[in-house]
Symmetry: C2
Subunit: 141 residues, 2 copies
DNA sequence: TCAACAGTTGCGATTGGGTCGCAACTGATG
DNA sequence: CATCAGTTGCGACCCAATCGCAACTGTTGA
């Protein structure tokens, strides 16, 4: 399933003129298998564990390329190295548990609409936005 | 007026056990005079221009201290060094014009409330949040 | 007023995520 | 296949930010 997804992406990227190398193919498979929000170092490890050594510089370059192609999204939480996630999901924002580091996804149409309204009222349109809630479990002492 | 504010802050900080040095006093005056969102390098320059040389390391250390005291807030926009602003204002969020770099402040109670509701529904309370709209003027070619 | 000392400063070195230059390599095309 | 533009790995480098340390200085209280 994720393997199929990786193949799909390869085809689309090739179509867009992006050369599919051994390294990129491996990273696409790793990314397609993600259900979390790994950083570059973690992806580097996962590719290595999957049997394909990719240099860290190439990991960074590939991530930049894939982001430019709209395949993945970059997340920059407070005080951490950048994290990445596949872009082929419904748009969502993130909550970060400040005690455990856990990342929870959520969506809220009303917030999305309000953001657009605010921008529009001031004569702007939104290119991109960032909404992060740094939270703590209620009732923790 | 901003000078008064700086004196007030000095008193409160001293009360809290924070030593008021020549450097900190200068930075407090610079910060109290801010109506924008300067980064550490800019604050370093402003202090120097105001006649008090402060090393960049001390600027960074002082900013950390003042943030811990709740006097200022740290802003981390995408791909830029951190910026700072006095914390004694109404809470607000930011829009960043991606073409000009201009930073526009806004407030929206409904968004604030929705955020709290979302967190509460999942059993969390918000410690801190970040909402940034990266925008472009409408009708630009 | 001033001695004492814990907290602060400046400097230069260091960290850490991320980028770059370059020579060697390799997908894609015909 | 030959070709060659695009890609890789390596190590050097960049930049914001932090740190170690010796010299310095607010603050306290005698
Ligand atoms: Zn959103
Ligand atoms: Zn996500
Ligand atoms: Zn807000
Ligand atoms: Zn602001």
């Amino acid at each position: 399933m994720t393997k199929d997804r990786a193949r799909q992406l390869e085809a689309a990227l090739r179509e867009a003129g992006v050369r599919i190398t051994r390294q990129r193919s491996a990273l696409l498979r790793v990314l397609a298998a993600c259900d979390d929000h790994p950083d570059a170092t973690e992806l580097h490890l996962r590719a290595r564990d999957a049997g394909v050594a990719v240099s860290l510089a190439t990991v960074y370059r590939t991530l930049t390329t894939l982001q430019a192609q709209g395949v993945i999204e970059k997340l920059e939480f407070r005080g951490e190295p950048a994290r990445w996630e596949p872009a082929d999901q419904q748009h969502h924002d993130h909550m970060i548990d400040v005690d455990t580091g856990a990342v929870i996804e959520f969506t809220n149409d009303r917030i999305e609409r309000l953001q657009a309204e605010i921008a529009a009222e001031m004569g702007y349109e939104i290119v991109h936005h960032r909404l992060e809630l740094y939270v703590r479990r209620r009732g923790n002492g």
